[in-house]
């Protein structure tokens, strides 16, 4: 397979996943900001959404204040923001066009229809109600793209590269959501268990679509350390770092077997898996959750780069 084709497939999936993550972050933020005073946080939810999306600096260069209007514009539609939902979907379709031959008809249809739909939303005149529909549309696009890939692609290198892009992006997003929210929400003793706390933590779960899963796994009210456990170490949870890496490792192994050789990407991924498999929440908290996640983000990037160097250029 052409390296450029592999690269396009990998980035296509990354961008679709990124668009979905942004939609979820915005969705959770809207819900939080809709709570009556006293339930919401003392901190600015909109600011925290910007931080989670990882664009504090570029946002600051374009806007004075983080509020519903500015953050929605920046994260959903802004042409200035290279990682706005709109740009993610534009780039995804450009990538898809470049690799039409490597996509199934159904995958192309999912992306192409989404692109046409995208142009029906006018950011200048969008109402709150329409915006909710827009967010749903983005999430559905991602599910549809993912579903068509799963159901229609041959299980060969094209599929594996597409999966790898999706998983590397997903691991990155999960880690970032957890880090920012945890940082913002890190409870002071007195407040643990209060109503504020409850809604805040519930919003994290919502932004990774894990509310129901949480209750099935722990059968408890929402507790900060359990949320962290679910999103980091729980291998049943498809968004968790452990689950992402279990699968990254698996697809890299498939590639290595298919091509008859392995390299840095496989070695790094294996190290990540064993670190997460042997990890314990107590240890992670003891040495600092923030430090753990920062290290994870660096390592995840390194795996992404290794995949790039090994296959995509």
């Amino acid at each position: 397979m052409l390296s450029r084709t592999a690269s396009n497939l990998y980035w296509l999936s990354r961008y679709v996943e990124r668009a979905e993550c942004l939609a979820r972050i915005l969705d959770a933020t809207y819900r939080l900001s809709a709570l009556p005073q006293g339930y919401g946080s003392e901190t600015n939810e909109w600011q925290s959404a910007i931080a989670t999306a990882g664009s504090v600096i570029s946002f600051g260069e374009n806007y004075k204040e983080a509020n519903e209007r500015t953050v929605t514009e920046w994260l959903a539609f802004s042409p200035e923001n290279p990682a706005s939902i709109r740009n993610c979907l534009e780039i995804a379709r450009t990538n898809a066009r470049s690799v039409r031959t490597a996509l199934t008809m159904e995958m192309w249809d999912a992306i192409n229809s989404a692109w046409h739909e995208l142009h029906r939303y006018d950011p200048k005149r969008i109402t709150r109600e329409e915006f909710t529909r827009f967010l749903n549309f983005v999430m559905e696009t991602s599910v549809r793209f993912d579903g068509t890939s799963f159901r229609t692609m041959l299980r060969n290198d094209a599929y594996w590269f597409s999966r790898l892009g999706f998983l590397v992006e997903r691991a990155d997003a999960t880690a970032r959501i957890l880090d920012v929210k945890y940082h913002v929400l890190l409870p002071r003793e007195a407040q643990v268990g209060g109503p504020l706390d409850y809604f805040q933590w519930a919003s994290i779960l919502r932004s990774v679509s894990a509310r129901t899963s949480y209750h099935w796994v722990y059968r408890e009210s929402v507790k900060p350390w359990l949320v962290a456990d679910l999103l980091i170490l729980n291998r049943q949870m498809p968004r968790s770092l452990a689950s992402c890496y279990e699968n990254i490792n698996r697809y890299l192994d498939d590639l290595a077997q298919f091509y008859g050789r392995q390299g840095q990407a496989q070695r790094l991924a294996r190290a990540m898996v064993s670190k997460l498999e042997n990890g314990k929440m107590e240890d992670i908290f003891q040495s600092g959750l923030h430090e753990f996640i920062t290290q994870f983000l660096t390592d995840n990037n390194r795996v992404g780069n290794a995949i790039g160097d090994q296959y995509l250029v």
Partner: protein, 489 residues
């Protein structure tokens, strides 16, 4: 390709401007020609809203699949659909047999002319064509002088534009020997028709076209370099997603089952050409390139080209990669050499041309230039190197000012122009706003020339001028397409 207009020279209907066009479905007395019997019956009985509904469905499907093209000069993001007309154009077996014989003859002559032009130049010694036609042509490639190409085939893929003016004659309007496009529409139009009107195929024995991709692949593999080992690796080279024909490139690569490469995916090492793959470099043997000569190698041609592969020409000259079509084929398909095609066919094949040439005045010759200037209001005047319906004057349709301006351009550089009589393009029933009405059509069949044989799938791309009275069928000028049926009877 250019669209043309109205009656033949010296025929009275031209001056009266009420030409009678050859209608492919109905004879002048209103009776339906045999090939169209069932279709006419069906058209008489199908409710208009059914046609309307299916046309909308066709458009919806085309947009979904993303069969779009970009129009140069419009914003980069603009993607337009070529309008598709749901009424097929029909040829019977006898008509097709004559046409395909003529096409084979013509492309054979084109290939022999190209080989001669880049080797012994016997045609110049015979005094049949002027030297400038070869050496004075900006697309003549000195790099190809004496350069062997596999099996002496230069034009593996040709698109020959033909029109009809009466029941018996096909005229060639233009030869396309560089990177002809449009074949994806031929294939997709058929797919759409099978999907929307399956009932029509029960009554009509329509010869299939879907084997085109197999034919193309067989053709490309047959011209692989002798140095390639085993099963040759064929790729399709595209300028990229912003090219107006990108959809077609990806469509064909998909059907061929080959990689769709851009220049940046390939590199030259030690007289060989490789592409970058996830498993490391892989040798490329045959490039079906949809990139013009000028852009394929910045070291050999335009140094500012970002679309090519540095050093590609040296690999080509070493005989380690085949380019389809060959470099330098432009000297065989411009509008100046067109006027010599009947002589070229006779010279190389010793045969009379089966397909006619439209009478052509070469403005480079003083007496012909005088005729053209004296009669410019009745003629179609074209730039020798123009294409896409740009840079031409349709005398009978132009106002005085436009004609004067164009005449001045011709006088300033006569060698850059040719003129032809306005030609009565045939019409076919077409589904338009006011219902079913005749519209002018042309046809681009595709001729594949390989080492073993020539392959022509029965059909081609029918283009139709959708507005009433218009004779310009180019998609860039608002033309549409039709499915083309060759009946197996």
């Amino acid at each position: 390709m250019a669209g043309m207009i109205a009656g033949r020279r010296a025929e009275p209907e031209l001056s009266s401007r009420t030409p009678s066009f050859f209608d492919e479905m109905r004879a002048p007395d209103g009776s339906v020609r045999p090939a169209y019997q069932q279709l006419a019956h069906w058209l008489d009985n199908v409710p208009k809203d059914v046609l309307d509904y299916r046309r909308k469905e066709a458009e919806f499907i085309f947009r979904r699949i993303g069969i779009t093209f970009a129009v140069y000069g419009e914003a980069a993001s603009t993607e337009r659909l070529i309008p598709f007309d749901i009424i097929p154009r029909i040829l019977n077996r006898g008509e097709w047999q004559k046409l395909s014989k003529g096409l084979e003859q013509r492309v054979k002559a084109l290939n022999m002319y190209l080989h001669d032009a880049y080797h012994k130049r016997e045609i110049l010694r015979a005094g049949l064509v002027p030297e400038e036609l070869i050496f004075g042509n900006p697309v003549f490639r000195p790099e190809m002088n004496g350069q062997p190409v596999p099996h002496n085939i230069y034009v593996m893929i040709a698109g020959i534009d033909v029109v009809r003016v009466d029941p018996d004659n096909f005229y060639v309007l233009e030869d396309n020997a560089r990177v002809p496009s449009g074949v994806s529409y031929m294939l997709e139009n058929r797919e759409i028709m099978l999907r929307l009107f399956p009932e029509l195929f029960i009554d009509h024995p329509v010869a299939p076209v879907e084997n085109y991709a197999d034919d193309l692949l067989a053709t490309l593999k047959s011209v692989a370099p002798v140095t390639s080992s085993g099963d040759p690796t064929v790729v399709l080279m595209t300028p990229g997603i912003y090219n107006s024909a990108y959809y077609e490139h990806s469509f064909l690569a998909d059907k061929l089952g080959c990689e769709l490469v851009e220049g940046r995916d390939m590199f030259v090492k030690g007289d060989m050409l490789y592409m970058r793959t996830t498993e490391g470099p892989k040798r490329v043997d045959v490039i079906y390139r949809r990139v013009d000569d000028d852009f394929i190698d910045p070291l050999a041609f335009r140094p500012d080209s970002m679309l090519g592969v540095p050093g590609l020409m040296s690999v080509y000259q070493a005989g380690n990669v085949t380019l389809a079509n060959a470099v330098g084929t432009g000297i065989a398909d411009d509008k100046a050499v067109y006027s010599y095609m009947p002589e070229i066919i006779k010279f190389y094949l010793g045969e009379e041309p089966i397909l006619k040439n439209v009478e052509t005045w070469r403005c480079r010759e003083p007496d012909q230039l005088k005729y053209v200037l004296d009669n410019i209001g009745k003629l179609v005047v074209k730039e020798v190197h123009g294409s896409g319906g740009y840079g031409m004057l349709i005398g009978p349709a132009a106002d005085k000012k436009t004609i004067e301006n164009f005449a001045a351009k011709v006088k300033a550089s006569p060698e850059g122009f040719i003129a032809q009589p306005t030609l009565a393009l045939s019409t076919c029933p077409t589904f338009v706003e006011e219902g079913i009405a005749p519209r002018h059509v042309d046809l681009r069949p595709f001729v594949l020339t390989g080492r073993d044989k020539t392959r022509i799938v029965p059909g081609g791309l029918t283009r139709v001028a959708l507005s009433k009275g218009s004779l310009v069928v180019n998609s860039s000028q608002g033309g549409g397409t039709k499915d083309t049926w060759v009946l197996d009877r």
